[in-house]
Symmetry: D2
Subunit: 312 residues, 4 copies
């Protein structure tokens, strides 16, 4: 299915459940997909950072994406990450994603290599030229180590290279500048800005973003859907209250001991522990070489779920 | 005067006008102070980054602060930056600021040196122990190169070391985490979070910040005061529209040619060019070794003022 | 062939010549291989950063590696980069490299994702467990954004996980610390430290590194071989003089206009322009989206070659 | 006394001993000065990062500098750091240092503020114009967060603004580029490059630096003097062996627990603990808010001193 223009709503970046031996757990992934669909999400984003795309082999990426596409059954659009170091490699992933049934692609700027705004723009143009699918830029400086500024993104929005931006930079002022400029240029209705700042969704929607891509939406899709509905209805105080509740819940991403593990292990381990505790997935394992959460950390995850009323 | 607890409202970080020879232009600074007071600001922040504190000698800092205090005449509280590399040096500035009549102090974490969260906490406790004045922490990682996380700030809020936080980090998610946690601990009414994210004030107020410290408020205080009033009255759509207008105006900070000058030259030069064009200050010079804006850049500043309706 | 233990000498990280349409130019790559072998290099490193590994598809990587292996014909060991974001993906590359005839593997720490020293160590252990080939760690913080400290590397050297380290960090003090500690632990003769600091090879050899992996060695292998021979013979003044000459020649990596292109475009474009001017490769193109050097930049590359006496 | 041109030799960046209550311990500082002079150092650098300049008030800086100048008694030149955020503040320090009897000044680029190469060059020119004393640039990106590249430094060397560079960047390749270019321009005999890479002094001297500014030289001046003498006599193997010994000793800077303190606390605490154990200074305290070394860390410092033969 063609994604709506502009793409709006709640579009969770899906976790990729794994088996104890590190394979993609297709049963659990399909279950997660159906849970999100039943909650009413507006789209699904497979193979993003939350989906451990950087840890998955090409074969695992294909398995994961096909599982989501099949389980989604056309009910909502499926966006697929095509994350890799540079253009030619991402074009290979794009072809694979199209073959697997993705409805749109999500690509970062080149990374690992030293790049430049002109090269980043050319990169997205080449990616777009190689696919039939709408293309979303993925701004995640914590991973990519460059920032997709408004100056880079706006021309790519204007010429149709990009259908939208997934903004995981946390830099809400640069997002505001982009939103204002895009509206000034008449792009507001065809270029979709999706925020990944999952603890500031209320403000982002107030600023005019079209949708939200919350990792925590794997765990509590209803919360983000309520927040989105409040905002769309102008019930801003209610939106903020819901965001406050979700911000407290987000602490489940920080239960891991930083002396023993990195941020991905703790955050993605927290999401998966929660999904496991909620009975959605069979195994909370993250991909190697991430470090599993210790038992005490899982207990804290459970506590946060209890506090948020998700285990009643 | 004792600042209200919690401190709320619009508290512009004041520019420090200079003469063509680089002295503090006390006439212009007094005029700027009165203009802000007449607009209705709730406080004044002298000697912040926008005030070029890092460029001013100790003597110039004293002159600037005394000028603001005198012009403010007790109508609103005057916060004074005591920015320096470490504790003992900041304590000297704190004593000077108190002697000059400041009502509260604003201090960063140590910088230049390699520090640690435990050292940062001790730093603020030592500062607080050396002064009668309320102390605000100033989180500006772009200058200080460390982040004041919620984990650092909360205990300092709880034990009364800090009266508030000026958050110029741009990291609104960490701010949300802090706001939620502070309310959970019953600190919401005595610990003031002031945002420096001047293009995202609507969302910050929706998230619960107490006030705003906008550099652009030197140029358009009425805009920020309207935005603040809308938000406090729950007129969120109007607040967002005002913020959009101000976000467009903020482009006056980026007229400088990045091949010829740094970000401070462009941003602070933009503010001062605007104040000069508006007739508030006599000379748009920034402190050496900052590079003056070229004439074409000043023309663009004028254009942004026109577009914002400030030159009518 | 099994690489010697420890691996020593000059081991250039090979450029990957491309055709005008972006395919691997196998004729030119074979010619480059033979030129380096005829000069007397002690090993070849294919698919490193200088080889544009981050820009090559899996198919291109295979073509390039097989071309080098075939042209090397067993005269020296061929090291192959298996650069990718994380462990499982690198294991796939490792299997491919082994099938293509590589003699050893070179792998970075995980990147794109947020990692941790314990995860990095586990990553290398898992890589090593999945291959018969000796494994070299590749420390290149400019690309990977973490540093392989002595504290991470030493245990992996001691337990046989790593056969060596390619140090492209530029942090010679950390390298010294590693070298001293490795010798203290009796690892000096079985753990090979190879420096990528191609403008400081004399000092690195004086400090005890085993070999050198200079990108500029594509252009002037004889220079690095002379430098290496001087150092091994204790002719340190002559080594330093040769290094000075090569340091001046290295300026050919910086002819690109930084307003128009990134550092990879300029550096890799400089190497390839030089190889093209020297008649070694047919086309100087770098992989998209890198920006080609302008004609004036190529003229400057030619001038540097002239000055270095390479075009006589 | 006028420093020799170029300045050469071993010029330790002196620690600033403190009393238990945090005052400058002038007795201990004079003792340290005499110890270094008696060892035969070629100059003294007071008020550098190792001297905790960032922690000292203006009054303490003056006391410390006057103590060193008096104890040096004209036997060697005394360089004084004038570290502060920007030009005007550094000019104030420069005037004070000249009044206190300094023979040369050492200044960083502006920090805290966002700067630009053109502004940095102007900064040094303004500093130089305001003083009679020779001016050395201090390149310490870990503190200042910009790098003094060869492109910035060379014109300032050529026009006489700078008498030299203290390179604490650790970027030996950029230093090589500078050294080669300076010699090409005939500046080798009047522009002095001093390395702060105290674990790579042998290679730096081989590359042509004029002198060394080792923090560890506070603890073991004789070691650095032997290393320097070996290098100047062309005994490179002996130089390297001495450097290896000193690199092992440098581990005394890393005994502090990184979970409890920052890098300055550990490194400066290690130097001071060593000086205290050696009977040179009365109290090992570092300036607040640095964290004191725990007893076990001090025991490790003692062990490193024993291993290096300094406690015999």
């Amino acid at each position: 299915m063609r994604p709506p223009v502009p793409l709006t709503g709640v579009i969770p970046p899906m976790c990729t459940p794994l088996t104890p031996t590190g394979d993609v757990d297709t049963r659990s992934l399909a279950a997660l997909t159906r849970r999100l669909l039943d909650a009413g999400v507006h789209g699904l984003f497979a193979l993003g950072s939350t989906g451990e795309v950087a840890y998955l082999t090409d074969a695992q990426r294909r398995t994961a994406l096909e599982t989501v596409v099949e389980a989604a059954a056309g009910r909502v659009p499926v966006l697929a990450g095509v994350i890799d170091t540079t253009t030619a490699r991402m074009r290979d992933h794009a072809a694979g994603a199209a073959a697997s049934g993705a409805d749109a692609l999500v690509a970062t700027a080149p990374f690992y290599t030293r790049t430049h705004p002109a090269e980043i723009a050319d990169h997205f143009r080449r990616l777009r030229a190689g696919t039939e699918l709408p293309l979303f830029a993925y701004d995640i400086p914590a991973a990519v180590h460059t920032k997709l500024t408004a100056a880079i993104v706006l021309p790519l929005a204007a010429d149709g290279t990009l259908a939208g931006l997934k903004d995981s930079s946390g830099q809400v002022e640069e997002a505001r500048r982009l939103l204002v400029a895009a509206r000034d240029r008449g792009l507001g209705e065809r270029f979709s800005v999706l925020t990944g700042s999952e603890m500031a969704v209320d403000g982002a929607l107030l600023a005019g973003v079209h949708g939200v891509v919350p990792g925590l939406g794997n765990v509590d899709p209803h919360g983000y859907l309520r927040l989105y509905a409040h905002a769309r209805a102008g019930r801003w105080a209610e939106a903020a209250a819901e965001q406050d509740r979700l911000a407290a819940l987000f602490a489940l991403t920080e239960t891991g001991d930083p002396a023993r593990m990195g941020g991905s292990s703790s955050a993605l381990g927290g999401f998966k522990a929660a999904l496991h505790l909620l009975g959605v997935i069979d195994c909370p394992a993250t991909a190697a070489p991430q470090v599993p959460l210790e038992a005490a950390a899982v207990d804290r995850v459970r506590k946060f779920l209890d506090d948020a009323g998700l285990t009643a």
